[in-house]
């Protein structure tokens, strides 16, 4: 492209022919206000706020928009002639008379010296800048938004105002909306707690704190480019050209010396316990949902709010939902009492709500835990000994106190109580992951009746498993809190390091062997081996035993119809000899 010389307010600058005046002005440090301009999109020139006066020095003059007026040699631009100022002011004034005083307009008004518009203040919140429509179109490529209707009825909507199938919920429209006309968190004025996780997500993030490697990665579930093929804004702004869209998930085979299983737990789903109305009453939350709401990056910005956006007047926290329960899990989930107390503390800190704790036994067993409990009691939390029995909509006489009614038996005073509250938090049980059985099979370890992995010995080997070199850490072995999890994880790491440092493993001399000549290839032993040590060699058509995996249990030896499997040090001859020795 050829270079051309233009002047802006008398200041000369060389720019590429056809490049836009706005960029040249930016380079010169001359500020031209804009409303509908975004650097990564084709200029739209709808707001007309960036109007400037173009002259050729020979008498020709015209008001043009800086955002899309191409430079040509000899062009003179003036950004502050009376004609320009009037054009900007009147346009802004007209816009304000249609739209509510959005901060972006108010700021501009202060800058341009526009006072209250002569034609009244409008109530619309959309300034028709079209950023949302264009970002969805040009950058995202989802084409889910459009302008509909004409003239003064023009509005931004999805096609035919129906729920758009093309929307990929990326939130880009809301992110770039300068007036807040488009919001993500609000569905008809309701904050849907069940959709808390759908808040604005950035597709690029560091997975968690102190992640290794500590580098951002693209989450393909949220990346606009992965969904539509568009966007690529990150690569446009990355100065180091680090963005690689081609990177894919891969299967890698690694040779490893030890395995630590730390698969954690899943939350108990309280929906089947219909007496608590979870899923039926919008303000009955599970503990993890409440935790998400409290996150500063949540759609409520960390505020504790009911579905209608108001602060609750009172909150009940129900312990032992699904745990210590004959119908569900008999065990104690161990962490709930403490986080329930933490919730109470958070509620007291953030709101003026009354808090009721409904517990069976307050298990504050850890170091400093009891002290925290005592502190909570001084914060004015109501502690009731008795499990919550039922949650129902509050009758009208309670409406001044709460919209829900918690029914319970206060076993300390021996009375049935009905407590009106606005919000209920269910402290749901920790339970073994649904796929724990599969994991157990894969690693040759076993699970208990509750689904937790079984350690090698409950007292003497709480970290090891029956499979050599496989260790357990955390809640996958059984409910435990963070300090216990860290302790067990550290122990598992130590065990692994010990193995790795040895370099080689001492094997028991006792294991089973197959005499190939005698093996018929019947494969009966393959399925019987509890340690998956026997495989079938398809070429030789005989079974083989991996001596490192074999625990010398003897099952295969006994089962082999041809007697091809021998247990080393426990051959028939040796056993007979021993028997003879005893009898002799």
């Amino acid at each position: 492209m050829e270079k051309v010389s233009i002047t802006i307010d008398g200041k000369p600058i060389e720019v590429e022919e056809g490049s836009y005046v706005l960029q040249a002005a930016e380079e010169l440090g001359i500020k031209i206000p804009t409303l509908c301009y975004y650097e990564h999109m084709t200029p739209y020139a709808a707001c007309r706020i960036c109007s400037v006066e173009a002259r050729d020095g020979k008498g020709w003059t015209k008001i043009v928009t800086a955002c899309n007026y191409p430079a040509w040699d000899g062009l003179q631009i003036f950004t502050d002639t009376p004609r320009v100022i009037t054009a900007r002011k009147v346009n802004l004034e007209m816009l304000m008379s249609h739209c509510a005083p959005a901060p972006v307009l108010q700021e501009l008004a202060d800058e341009l010296g526009v006072k209250e518009p002569r034609w009244g203040i409008g109530t619309d919140t959309c300034i028709m800048c079209g950023l949302c429509v264009r970002i969805c179109d040009e950058v995202v490529g989802a084409h889910a938004l459009t302008f509909s209707s004409r003239g003064i009825d023009r509005e931004v909507s999805t096609p035919f105002k129906l729920e758009s199938e093309d929307c990929i919920l990326c939130g880009a429209c809301a992110r770039y909306c300068p007036t807040g006309h488009i919001r993500m968190t609000d569905t008809n004025g309701r904050i849907l707690h069940s959709e808390l996780t759908l808040g604005p997500n950035t597709a690029i993030s560091i997975p968690f704190r102190q992640a290794i490697p500590n580098a951002p990665r693209i989450d393909p579930d949220y990346c606009i480019h992965m969904a539509t093929g568009g966007c690529k804004l990150c690569s446009k702004v990355c100065p180091k050209e680090c963005i690689n869209y081609e990177d894919k998930d891969e299967f890698e085979e690694l040779e490893i010396g030890a395995i630590i299983i730390a698969t954690g737990f899943q939350d108990f789903d309280p929906t089947p316990m219909q007496q608590f109305g979870y899923g039926k009453y919008p303000n009955v939350l599970s503990s993890i949902e409440f935790e998400q709401m409290n996150n500063a990056a949540s759609p409520t910005d960390g505020k504790i709010l009911m579905e209608n956006g108001e602060e609750p007047r009172s909150i009940a926290i129900l312990h032992c939902i699904g745990s210590r329960d004959e119908d569900h899990h008999k065990y104690c989930s161990r962490v709930c009492c403490m986080y329930a107390l933490k919730f109470a503390h958070l509620v007291k800190e953030k709101t003026n709500a009354e808090v009721y704790q409904l517990y069976i036994d307050m298990r504050t067993f850890g170091k400093g835990y009891e002290e925290f409990y005592q502190r909570i009691l001084t914060e004015g939390v109501n502690v009731i000994r008795g499990k919550g029995g039922e949650i129902v909509p509050a009758p009208p006489e309670y409406s001044s106190e709460g919209n829900l009614l918690v029914r319970c038996e206060d076993t300390l005073i021996g009375k049935f109580r009905e407590i009106p509250v606005d919000m209920v938090i269910l402290c749901t049980a920790l339970e073994a992951r649904g796929d724990a059985e599969d994991i157990a099979r894969k690693f040759n370890i076993s699970t208990g009746a509750d689904g937790w992995f079984i350690e090698a010995h409950p007292k003497l080997a709480p970290v090891s498993t029956t499979t050599e070199g496989v260790f357990l850490a955390g809640v996958c072995q059984g409910p435990k809190d963070i300090p216990d999890t860290v302790a067990q994880g550290t122990a598992a790491a130590a065990h692994s390091i010990r193995l790795l440092n040895m370099g080689e493993v001492l094997m028991d001399a006792a294991y089973a062997e197959i005499v190939e000549e005698f093996c018929s290839g019947c494969r009966i032993c393959n399925g019987l081996c509890p340690y998956n040590a026997i495989t079938f060699d398809e070429e030789k058509k005989v079974s083989e035993i991996n001596s490192a995996l074999c625990k010398a249990c003897g099952t295969c030896v006994a089962a082999c119809p041809t007697g091809a499997i021998k247990a080393r040090h426990f051959t028939d001859d040796q056993i007979y000899a021993q028997i003879e020795g005893i009898l002799a």
Partner: protein, 670 residues
């Protein structure tokens, strides 16, 4: 016939000679106008009645019925012209068909009641060409309409069609074609008046392939229908023009963007495109040359803004019909960002004429800066509503009074609005003689000398722009003494507000606010500073609107303020509507001339008129909604439109003065 394609001009000439011979065989032809106007008046039934009548009289072989496109004189439809004599029958009803066949065709006698009678001279005129409406026109591109069936390509060929195409393709280079068009001085008829030849040359020069040729048939101006009538009546003329243009520019793809609200135009155009393709005027190797070109007909959804070139192209691309900035011209980057040459229907229709008859012939018509003819759609308060084709440079007076016959019922001509909704309202003919004292106090009275009658303005692109209006697509709305200029501005602004695409702030919001202010003024709530505000907003709109539709939208306001400032002041200061149109400022009252005919009584929708037959009627001022139904109906001019609140005073005087009309018969008996 499998192969109808013409591969050489000789083929075409042979067919033409054969067709002309056929036409000259002395058969009588009944041409029935089947333009949309006459269709609405029931011309289909008339055609059927003619068929029936011919059958009855066993004349089917000797007489041909030809349904043609619009003749232009829509006011008098359905029109029937008997050729070759050119006998002109107007307002023909199905029942008249038999009469015409039996009297005129069989016996050569005229049917007097169907003949045209000049409203001024009361003279009966028999021949079409002698009627002033036609005789003062110069029907270059519309002339063919009355002589051919638009669905018959043979008719077009017989009248010399596609000769220009043969000439251009086989004897001229593209550059010569462009030079010819440049020399002719043809300017775009769509509104802007850009020189067609220059545009073609830039498009030919532009880098990028393919190039597109587009015909803008998205005619949306209220009251304008010349493009529709051309497409309906002579679609081949437009197609021929486009092929010649495409040849000159080097394009192989053409589009016609036509409003879906023009079903007949779409139908006839599609028939014509198919026929042209079948005969080899479209498609590959046209006339055996190596030039290929074809046309797609695309139907528009009826948004006014899609008549703007960039919005039209966006719509063609399947996007929202919104204009974009034209800092880069469409001849460089238009449809799909490729060089695109867009011209309006009428412009394309002029092209064959220029090629066939030569630029020198063409440039002799018109004024120094505007050549050729222009079709105007004459509507409003005028006797001869219809389409008129006149040479450029003709005066408004000739169009409105000589051709149009002036306002009906002898009312006084007041103004004419040209150039569609964004055009200006022009011409001061009558002035309000009474000047209210309060006006003088405001110092807003303009000197008498400043008011110039523009009736003798020669009509061409530049002259109209100079006086604050524009040629536009050629709408011409005539207003008489009963039209209120504030109301007129309000009407056009309302149209524009509804049709604004809403993309840019000044057009979307500016029109809304302007309309609000105008409405306020028309309701008597205006203030003196409103005029300044209107002018301020208008200037900002002219400066900053994205497209020309917005940029010219303030024209109706500015031109009415410019030429009819006093009328605005009457509304604002005196709270009076001189024309008696603005309902909030008007009262209806009955004066002493009332005959007690009782007609008004029955039409009043709110029963506001009190009175019995042969007594003085009175309008209940509180119940009257100023609908004007009684005013329109009163044959004795007894119902007066007066300033709001003065109705009772008039009716009080009427009560004093009124006496029953003299009953002649009763007196005789006595």
């Amino acid at each position: 016939m499998n192969n109808n394609k013409f591969t050489s001009p000789e083929d075409l000439n042979r067919l033409r000679e054969r067709l002309v011979k056929q036409r000259e065989e002395g058969r009588i032809i009944i041409t029935v106008c089947a333009g949309t106007g006459c269709l609405a008046c029931g011309c289909e039934a008339v055609t059927a009645a003619f068929r029936e009548a011919l059958k009855e009289n066993q004349l089917e072989d000797k007489v041909e019925i030809r349904t043609t496109g619009c003749h232009g004189f829509c006011e008098r439809g359905p029109l029937v012209v008997l050729r070759p004599e050119g006998t002109f029958y107007q307002r023909v009803k199905p029942a008249d068909a038999k009469l015409i066949v039996e009297q005129t065709i069989k016996h050569g006698k005229l049917v007097n009641k169907l003949l045209y009678r000049d409203p001024q001279t009361k003279e009966v005129i028999v021949k079409e060409d002698d009627i002033p409406f036609y005789s003062k026109q110069m029907r270059l591109i519309f002339g063919m309409n009355g002589h051919m069936d638009p669905t018959s390509i043979n008719d077009y060929i017989a009248l010399g069609g596609y000769q220009a195409l043969a000439k251009a393709l086989l004897t001229m280079t593209p550059e010569q074609v462009i030079d010819e068009v440049k020399k002719s001085g043809l300017r775009g008829r769509g509104g802007g008046g850009y020189h067609a030849g220059k545009k073609w040359a830039s498009c030919r020069r532009a880098k990028g392939e393919p190039k597109y040729v587009i015909c803008n048939a998205d005619e949306g101006d209220p009251g304008a229908f010349m493009d529709r009538s051309l497409l309906e009546g002579n679609p081949h003329g437009v197609i021929e023009g486009m092929v010649i243009g495409a040849f000159a520019i080097g394009s192989h793809d053409g589009y016609v963007y036509v409003r879906n609200e023009y079903p007949l135009a779409v139908k006839n155009l599609n028939i014509a495109v198919d026929a042209a393709r079948e005969h080899g005027f479209l498609g590959d190797n046209i006339f055996g040359s190596s030039f290929n070109f074809d046309i797609d007909v695309s139907r528009g959804g009826g948004a006014f803004v899609c008549g703007e070139s960039t919005a039209l192209m966006a719509s063609l691309e399947g996007k929202i019909g919104e204009p974009r900035a034209k800092y880069v011209h469409t001849v460089d980057a238009g449809l799909w960002d490729k060089p695109s040459n867009l011209n309006n229907v009428e412009t394309w229709a002029n092209v064959p004429l220029i090629i066939e008859k030569g630029a020198d012939w063409y440039s002799r018509i018109g004024t120094a800066s505007s050549k050729g003819t222009k079709v105007f759609a004459l509507t409003g308060k005028i006797n001869n509503t219809g389409l008129v084709e006149v040479p450029m440079g003709i005066t408004l007076r000739e169009i409105i009074f000589d051709i149009g016959g002036g306002p009906p019922k002898g009312k006084k001509f007041k103004a004419v609005q040209t150039g569609g909704p964004s055009g200006g309202t022009l011409v001061v003919e009558t002035r309000e003689p009474k000047v209210h004292e309060s006006l003088v106090a405001h110092g807003d009275i303009r000197d008498e000398e400043e008011v110039v009658s523009l009736l003798d303005l020669p009509v061409d692109f530049d002259e109209l722009t100079k006086v604050g209006s524009m040629m536009g697509s050629g709408g011409m709305i005539v207003m008489d003494q009963d039209s209120c200029m504030v109301d007129v501005a309000k009407y056009f602004l309302n149209f524009l507000q509804e049709e604004s695409c809403g993309k840019c702030t000044p057009c979307r919001e500016g029109l809304r606010i302007t309309l609000e202010i105008l409405t306020r003024i028309s309701e008597g709530k205006g203030q003196m500073e409103d005029l300044d505000t209107l002018e301020e907003i208008s200037q900002v709109m002219i400066d900053t609107c994205l497209c020309q539709l917005g940029g010219s939208a303030p024209n109706p306001v500015l031109s009415t303020i410019r030429y009819f400032r006093q009328e605005y002041l009457a509304h604002i200061v005196e709270k009076r509507c001189p024309a008696g149109v603005c309902k909030e400022l008007v009262s209806h009252a009955i004066d002493e001339t009332c005959t007690g005919c009782h007609v008004c009584f029955s039409v009043c929708p709110t029963n506001a008129i009190i009175g019995q037959t042969k007594t003085l009627h009175v309008i209940d001022q509180d119940a009257c909604i100023q609908c004007g139904a009684c005013y329109q109906l009163c044959r004795f001019d007894s119902i007066k439109r007066v300033k709001r609140g003065e109705g009772d005073a008039i009716q009080y005087v009427a009560k004093e003065k009124w006496h029953p009309p003299v009953k002649k018969k009763a007196a005789a008996v006595a």
